[in-house]
């Protein structure tokens, strides 16, 4: 049981009086992509931040490849973080560094590769996400979709076993959103990584996820395939997937 890529047990998180997560249980197997859906402000992004311990839970446990991470010290958690790639909602690129330097940044810090090797690797990763042309540009000089691609290349820099996506298609036009979706699918086929994708995009998630879970009022309300959830007897679940799929 313990060798799942990610195992979350009875996770609780509150900000003051506001309970955001209320006993979440979620298991992501190795090589599996799970889409987490839910209403805005429902704690989906918080869940991702707890998985990589950018925030600490009030109670409960998070195991990454069998290792409980909630009680690790800074050095130990950084070793775990090297196994995880995180694509932020707004890409969160370092705005004073060029596209290439953004991708090379984790390589500089965590590998012994020479400057030339780091550059070469960064360009390979950028080519993988279709961003090999504008490598000398600053993040402010490229579009939102391009920033997401660069963010994804940076997330892949340390060859992670797990990828976490926070709204990878939010704020993008349908064509760019579909491209990002295809990219996630390609990565899944090529690298066999485990992933959690937090999204509102029900159709996109249907294309690249193995399983969907619906987070509602701090807990997992339903999980299964798109079709299973759409035909759920629960009115909220059926509404969410029926409504979401119409868009």
């Amino acid at each position: 049981m313990s060798d799942a890529a990610i195992a979350i047990r009875d996770l609780h998180k509150a900000f003051g009086e506001q309970k955001v997560l209320n006993g979440v249980n979620l298991r992501v197997e190795r090589g599996e992509t799970v889409a987490v859906l839910g209403r805005s402000g429902g704690g989906k992004s918080v869940l991702l931040k707890l998985v990589i311990r950018l925030q600490r839970p009030d109670s409960g446990s998070v195991c990454i490849a069998g290792q409980e991470i909630t009680k690790l010290n800074e050095r130990q958690i950084n070793e775990v973080r090297k196994k995880i790639g995180f694509l932020f909602q707004q890409a969160a690129l370092y705005d004073s560094l060029t596209v290439e330097d953004n991708v090379a940044f984790p390589l500089k810090r965590h590998t012994k590769a020479s400057g030339e090797q780091q550059k070469k690797r960064a360009r390979e990763l950028l080519a993988e996400v279709g961003m090999d042309r504008d490598v000398e540009k600053l993040p402010s000089e490229i579009s939102g979709g391009m920033q997401k691609r660069v963010g994804l290349a940076r997330a892949l820099a340390l060859d992670p076993e797990i990828l976490l996506f926070d709204e990878p298609t939010a704020g993008l036009d349908p064509i760019t959103a579909a491209e990002i979706g295809r990219l996630i699918n390609d990565l899944k086929q090529k690298r066999h990584m485990s992933a959690i994708v937090v999204t509102h995009d029900v159709h996109g998630a249907k294309a690249y996820s193995d399983r969907m879970v619906l987070l509602h009022k701090g807990n997992i309300k339903a999980e299964g395939s798109f079709e299973e959830l759409q035909s759920s007897k629960d009115e909220f679940v059926a509404d969410f997937f029926g409504y979401g799929s119409r868009w």
Binding site: F86, Q90, A92, F105
Partner: protein, 281 residues
């Protein structure tokens, strides 16, 4: 009977009003008191995390050098200008007063002692609070609100080591060097101004100025600026790293970095001058 009832009612109502007014009076200072304590508590935790990050290898020498350039070299023109202006003003103002009291011969010593003991260090501290404090506060604040700090942490890079420790250390290292530059420009321009009124050689000016100066007049005031550097670095980084909200939060981080670091630099100056006088006489 009715009169008695009205009296009792009036007393109860006025008592309630008075107590709610008193409550209101106490609520504001209580909130202020709590927030000040919270701020110092958070600052203490921030410092402990910073020290842990700074002392444990690997060290970020490349970033430290970049910050030394950013804080040191790029502040040099402004510091030189401020030091020079201080020298000119001191020379002009003091000359007039000393001539009146027939003590014109002491002018070089007055300029040298004023500049190296107080004007140079405090002017450097306040100018760096403004230039560097605002820069650090805004930069880290902007990185915080755009999740760049989180992205760094998610990439297994300790932002306290990479962003905070390097900036604080660069401030500590650069402040004494910038103070030396301010001292030099102040004394040199003091001599130029003096020479324009009454020609005197630089050598004679310096000989008269430094005749009674001891190392204890020069070293402690210059080294006290390391404390200013620590204050500027730590407060600006702290304000930047606790930024919340969007552009308004970043603006607040920049402004509060300048205001708080200037305040603490002035306070530290008072304490350190007293301490220096106690230890070195």
């Amino acid at each position: 009977m009715v009169y008695l009832a009205i009296c009792v009612l009036a007393t109860v109502i006025s008592g309630t009003l008075a107590s709610s007014r008193a409550q209101l009076h106490f609520t504001i200072p209580k909130r202020l008191f709590t927030s000040v304590f919270e701020w110092f508590g958070e600052l203490g935790m921030f410092c402990s995390r910073l020290f842990r990050a700074a002392l444990v290898p690997p060290y970020e020498f490349g970033e430290l050098l970049r910050q030394c350039d950013e804080i040191g070299s790029k502040s040099l023109p402004l510091i030189a200008l401020a030091g020079a202006a201080t020298g000119v003003v001191l020379s002009l103002e003091t000359r007039d007063s000393l001539v009146r009291f027939g003590a014109k011969a002491f002018l070089p010593a007055v300029i040298v002692f004023s500049v190296i003991k107080e004007s140079g260090p405090i002017i450097t501290g306040l100018i760096i609070s403004g230039r560097v404090g605002a820069g650090i506060g805004a930069q880290l604040g902007s990185m915080k609100v755009t999740e760049q700090v989180d992205a760094m942490e998610a990439s297994a890079i300790d932002p306290y080591k990479f962003l905070v420790a390097t900036r604080v250390l660069a401030c500590i290292l650069m402040l004494p060097l910038l103070t030396l530059a301010a001292d030099f420009c102040g004394i040199f321009m003091g001599w130029i101004t003096n020479t324009l009124a009454e020609p005197v050689s630089l050598r004679l000016f310096l000989e008269n100025g430094f005749k009674n100066a001891l190392f204890s007049d020069f070293i402690p005031p210059t080294l006290k600026t390391t404390v200013f550097g620590f204050i500027i670095g730590i407060i600006s980084c702290f304000q930047g790293m606790r930024t919340r909200g969007g552009t308004e939060g970043v603006g607040y981080a920049a402004t509060s970095s300048v205001v708080l670091s200037s305040r603490f630099v002035v306070l530290a100056d008072v304490v350190l001058v007293r301490l220096i006088l106690t230890v070195w006489g």
